[in-house]
Amino acid sequence: MNDILGIIFIGVGLAFDFFGCLGLLRLPDVYNRLQASTKCVTLGTCSILFGVFLMLGPTAAGIKSLLCIIFLILTTPVSAHAIARGAHRSGVKLWEGSIVDRYKEDKEGEA
């Protein structure tokens, strides 16, 4: 039973990882690509790790995969934030279809 559930979780995770990579290729600029890669890849990888935990049970590897989920959820948004902020500060433009850029407006007001 746990094996079947685990395989389902791993399958769903692989699908989300695939969508994340697809988004990385299709979306137009750095910020949109970060959206796809942070969200889909986080949940996808967490789902794969949870599937591994279900299949292995509370063994050494199973518990480690649970810990990995916690670290992943805590660290992915931080690195995404760092990349987005770094990109904006070093002058990477938003895609031309973007509607509004309050960050740029505010920074120009200060300078």
Partner: protein, 164 residues
């Protein structure tokens, strides 16, 4: 002193989970090293240790987790839909939202939650004035107040009870 104890417990717990299954050797090494690390760096990491003893914060955290997980799954389906749709229905932009959270932990968790939920990604924080700059894949409203309502408020109410 309290903050050192908190860091000691957290460090020991993570170590024991990493070295699972626990035995005497691992436990002894863990206690020695967690004690040393907590003694050296406890005051740097944990600034408000009294918060850890209030039970209702943990209950709010338990209440927060399923909401967060549900939003996270919705976010994934939303982004996946936008990615596979042939016309790519995106409408991106960076909006400014307000927050009333003040503590660093609270702001960090708010920014992380925003990043992991539907179509939003925190770009920068202005801690003094309480503004977050959020990249939104589908901008519904450019106005500061309205955007705040949509993006921030569903988490802010709960996070305030956990971290403030």
């Amino acid at each position: 002193m309290k903050s050192k104890i908190v860091l000691f417990i957290v460090g020991l717990l993570v170590w024991l989970l990493l070295s699972w299954p626990a035995d005497t050797q691992h436990l002894l090494v863990g206690i020695v090293i967690a004690g040393f690390v907590a003694f050296m760096t406890g005051d740097m990491f944990v600034q408000r240790p009294h918060l850890f003893t209030q039970i209702r914060r943990y209950l709010w955290l338990l209440y927060y987790l399923p909401i967060f997980l549900w939003e996270c799954i919705k976010a994934n389906l939303d982004v996946a839909y936008r990615v596979i749709h042939p016309a790519m229905p995106i409408n991106p932009g960076i909006v400014k939202v307000k927050t009333t959270l003040k503590s660093e932990t609270g702001l960090t968790f708010l920014a992380n939650s925003i990043t992991l939920t539907p179509g939003t990604l925190t770009v920068d924080i202005d801690q003094e004035r309480g503004f977050l700059y959020v990249h939104w894949i589908d901008v519904k409203d450019k106005d500061v107040e309205k955007a705040t309502e949509i993006v921030v408020e569903r988490f802010e109410r709960i996070l305030k009870r956990i971290f403030e």
